[in-house]
Amino acid sequence: MKSIKRCICNFSFYDQQAIQEKLEDMAEKGWMLEKTGSFMWTYKRMEPKKLRFSITYFPGALDFDPRPTDDELTRIDFCRQDGWIPVTDWGVMQVFYNENMDAVPIETEPVTQVENIRRSMRKNVLLPHLVLCGALLWNLFMRFSQWKRDIVGELSDPVSLYSVLMFGMLVLVTLYEIGFYFYWNIKAKSAAQNYGVFLSIQSRPAASWVLMAFSALFLILTFTAFRGPLGSAMLLLCAVPLIMVIGDLIKRHLKKRGISRNVNRMISVSSVILLTFLLLSIITASIIRSGSGFSSGENVVGTYEFYGRTREIYNDPLPLEIEALADVRAQWSKEADHQETVLLSSTEYRQYAVPVDGNDSVDERELEYTVSEVKWPFLYGFIKRAALNARQDQIHGDYVFTDHYEPVDASAWNADDAYQLHWSSSVINTYLLFWKNRIVELKFYWEPTPEQISIAAGILGNVSAGRDQ
């Protein structure tokens, strides 16, 4: 029969009533709380007993304290006088039990009780939550900036889309926790001051858990779509829990060694920051080292040397090839990269002549195009606008650097709409073409003839953005 049991701590930090009820329930089943923690609480076996628990907050305490302060011990002495036995603590939270079910509660003054929770929350929960929320919002802001530059690429990239959804869910969880606390605090303060009653907290941990479950789902989807090295994916998946566990171990170790609260806090926080940078650097380096891998890498037919680096030659199937447009002889590398989410599928194609003896000017004919298909009609207009607006003229004082698409005759492309890129002072042979649910960006590295445009339109207007094309 096991003597230790670990349970997930699934209640809000300030939800005294829920925690008390849980501990009383566990004691009746023969489990006494032994140790608290951010995720798991540890219980040890005992004789099943009906006990009364009390959760109180002592704002003067800090989770980095090597031992309880004199003030904290004095308060505990007071509590002992009424039969309240300290069980354990968790920073500012103190857990007591009493064998006398009719014992006078530890806190009997609602105003003081609410004020204690407010001061404890501010230091131990709100600040870390706000920092976390700020970091998540900053991350989302950076991602959305990227979306503005390349909406098709980002919405069709499962890692990008699902990780944004994951971060979005985490922001909602954090805002829900913070918002719920403030809502309770305003009402509780008013009830205590005006009516002398303590308004019990009825937090809804289920709502947080549902949001967390969605967040975990998007994390798994991100993880399964990740195409970098497996080690990096694992590291990415475990990074946050790993950092938190190591940070917690450092803090506990320093507490055990009797290091002062300020030194402990400085070392623990610095370690977490350093560790975050270290892990992010390792992940980034391993992704860069493994190469971005434009092609899926399934159809490698050879290699060549280019400026001292070995590059692979691919023979991926392309719907539109230079050979269909012009009679050019060269050794080609044909690459296709497909990505797909529930919103959008997109395949990037590229065909270029393999440089001979490191000379890349053998033939300037090169072709690049992206075929994207919008899966939900209601998104089409938004994505079309975003794709057109991805390029914007840059204004530097009186000087305007041209960078935008302008409409051209769509009938030549047999498309709904057709645009051509104006860049610097030139009109570039890059086209943005719109068919029913399809958006194609096509870049010729030469001036296409009307016949070549007609052939390209015939193929790209009918092709679907899939791997098998």
Binding site: L73, D77, F78, V104
Partner: protein, 107 residues
Amino acid sequence: MPRERFKTLTEQMFYILLCLHEECRGADILEMVRTLTDGRVNIGSGTLYDLLEQFVKEGAIKETRAEGRRRSYIITEKGRQMLDKEYHRLLGQTADYDRILRKEASS
């Protein structure tokens, strides 16, 4: 309108200050109040600690002695004024009660 802190005293605050009319150990106040009120007023041990801290900060009581973690306190002039003010407020309430309800009973 929220009640201003210490402008009026709750029953628990009133009895803590009352017990400290003479020097007294903080922890002893719990029992003193229970005895004094015949068990009608019970102050939570945590609340007692918190209120003593707040009264010290407010200057309503002062620490007189500290033997280890055992601290003794006594009421200050300011605390006495707070207590008197509350006493007169309660007197006013009872006078109003007498004036209205006793008058009704006699008529």
